[in-house]
């Protein structure tokens, strides 16, 4: 199962996270217009397939970004902390990811938002 599906299942299946961000607002990266805040979008930024000795090949993920967007810093922080707890050291069904970074930004587009970008890397 690719990392996207496992991450989606992990995030939407967690009661603590879905209490902050409803499951239907956890999606793959794309057009964010129309999604009410808070929401989470995730997807690979850098990946490639590498050959292995057994000839099967594996997917190397250089950067996988999970973005939390919320109106308030408290909600963004709470959701980000929970996501890091869930995905930090994720090992399931051929997926092995580690959290490598977390960046915080804010903007107005058109309404004010906080954006926490969590970066992971590994195999998946």
């Amino acid at each position: 199962m690719p990392a996207e599906e496992i991450i989606q299942a992990t995030l939407t299946g967690d009661a603590a996270l879905t209490a902050i961000v409803p499951a239907e607002r956890i999606r793959l990266r794309g057009d964010n217009r129309g999604i009410p805040m808070p929401f989470v979008v995730h997807g690979p930024i850098v990946d490639r397939y590498e050959p292995t000795f057994d000839g099967v090949g594996r997917r190397w993920i250089g950067v996988y970004q999970v973005s939390v967007l919320a109106k308030t810093a408290a909600i963004a922080r709470a959701a980000a902390d929970r996501i890091i707890e869930l995905l930090g050291g994720l090992r399931a069904d051929g997926v092995n990811l580690e959290v490598t970074g977390r960046t915080w930004s804010s903007g107005r587009d058109p309404e004010f938002y906080h954006h926490v970008a969590i970066e992971l890397s590994g195999v998946g």
């Binding site: 057009d31 930024i45 970004q65 967007l69």
Partner: protein, 140 residues
């Protein structure tokens, strides 16, 4: 009972350290680093979204730069001028309305190791040349 130690290779070590010291201010190191930076720069420029119909502001690709810095320092910088392109961050990380189109991290992730290897090989070649020179062999 007295113990005797014989250490071999000290002359080689001394010559190697002397070669490292000798290439310290060599302008060719900067040139090697610059070649590596050009590879990253090209990759970032190619990945940066470009709208030919844009008439205001700076295109993101035109805000990506290579900073060479002072000649005596053997480092170069590849970056984005945020004054020219304040939207660079939003393109890389995404925003409220879209998920962005990363151009910086992919270049570093996919080419970083290759560029580091290139710089390493270039410096090793310089060291070899200096080392051979100190051993009385042909030196460039």
């Amino acid at each position: 009972m007295p113990l005797e130690f014989k250490v071999e290779g000290l002359d080689d070590l001394r010559r190697s350290l002397s070669a490292i010291r000798a290439i310290g201010g060599d302008p060719r190191i900067k040139k090697i680093a610059e070649e590596g930076a050009r590879i990253l720069y090209r990759s970032m420029v190619d990945r940066a979204p470009y709208n030919p119909r844009r008439t205001r502001g700076t295109h993101l690709r035109d805000a990506i730069f290579i900073g060479l810095g002072p000649a005596e320092y053997a480092n170069v910088l590849v970056g984005v001028n945020m004054r020219k392109a304040p939207h660079a961050w939003l393109v890389e990380y995404g925003s409220r309305i879209w998920s962005g189109k990363p151009y910086f991290r992919p270049a570093i992730q996919l080419l970083g190791e290759y560029v580091l290897g290139m710089i390493q090989r270039g410096i090793e070649k310089l060291l070899d040349q200096k080392w051979e020179g100190k051993n009385g062999r042909a030196s460039e």
